[in-house]
Subunit: 213 residues, 2 copies
């Protein structure tokens, strides 16, 4: 027995997480079908049988990758929203948080968007699209409120949401393109605090000009 019997750790926690980390990165880059158990095992320095041992199957591993991050995403959603401030303050706040979350979880977000677009595994698609909808409603509700309170002009909330998520998704899911646009040599450089802040400032500026009456 290698496992540490602890209330804090699941059995096999470290190795499972090590596999999940590699799996997330690979699934994000090459898609479900583009990742073989053997290549994954090689990169994670494990025997190919360990995937079945820990997760049962490749599809279960894929689901496990998603569910692990879903816990994090759910925490985001239940986080306390700042009470004070008007619609503008709330919008700026949520943009800041959203950029950080998307950048920090960009591998995962890639998997989510790809999975939802492919419509291959119905139950996963349903599950993920609900979570995406929750996220978008956070923006949507904010914009509707802002319009009601008179802080924002009357815009189509859904197009407003797309104007935030669109550029941000482009930023986190196309490092090759972004590298060129940002004049950076490494992928990490693209997501340094400099460019993050640049994106935050831009999205806030863009939405300010778009929403102000």
């Amino acid at each position: 027995m290698k496992k540490t019997i602890s209330i804090l750790n699941d059995p096999g926690f470290e190795k499972k997480d090590q596999i999940l980390d590699v799996a997330e990165a690979l699934f994000s880059k090459h898609g479900f079908d583009g990742v073989s158990i053997r290549s994954l095992a090689k990169q994670a320095n494990i025997n190919i049988a360990m995937v079945s041992y820990y997760f049962g199957s490749k599809e279960n591993l894929y689901i496990a990758v998603i569910e692990r991050k879903m816990v994090t995403i759910r925490q985001y959603l239940t986080e306390a929203f700042p009470n004070g401030g008007n619609a503008w303050d709330k919008l700026y706040y949520i943009i800041d948080r959203y950029v950080d979350r998307m950048v920090d979880n960009r591998s995962f977000m890639n998997i989510v968007f790809t999975e939802v677009a492919s419509e291959n595994r119905e139950h996963i698609v349903d599950f993920l699209s609900k979570r995406l909808a929750d996220n978008q409603e956070a923006f949507g509700g904010l914009i509707v409120e802002g319009i009601k309170s008179g802080h924002f002009r009357e815009v189509d909330p859904q197009l407003a949401i797309m104007s935030i998520i669109g550029p941000l998704k482009l930023y986190v899911s196309n490092p090759f393109m972004v590298k060129k646009m940002m004049n950076e040599n490494t992928i990490e450089g693209c997501y340094s605090s400099v460019h993050r802040d640049r994106m935050k400032a831009h999205l806030k500026d863009l939405m300010t000009r778009f929403l102000k009456p």
Copy 2:
């Protein structure tokens, strides 16, 4: 021999194009590795050996899908640009055209973005990213010009480009999401002239507010 020997048609033109049509749709939705020759042959109503017969290999078929559409894309780029009009007119014109092109070639654009993001096949990535860069420079040059002429305020051209392409890419590559947002039941409904025009109007509105001094 079935082929019609004609200057207008390549030998086997119709069947090749029939295979390419199905291949483009499937590669777009499931990715290169997600498409098997057998499933493709079934959907295209051909024998599995026909892919090798016409294209040599699966990867060559993939390249053929890309190259076929590249001819169309190149035509777009060499099209005459309207001479009259100021920076605003040109911007509105190019947005209208770009939305139509992206929507009409959405399967292909999906393949392009996925391929560039995966960085799997270096020579294809290089080739495609150059074409993408050309497209983006069309926007970029326009914005820089507009700033110089005083029609636009001084913005970061690259972030401006991302603000156009981002929402548009979201629109054409996530029909599942868009179906919900647009309250449409079918994918075709999402790309009807109604929603196309809606997207055009929105992007023009968005950029107007973003760029006006």
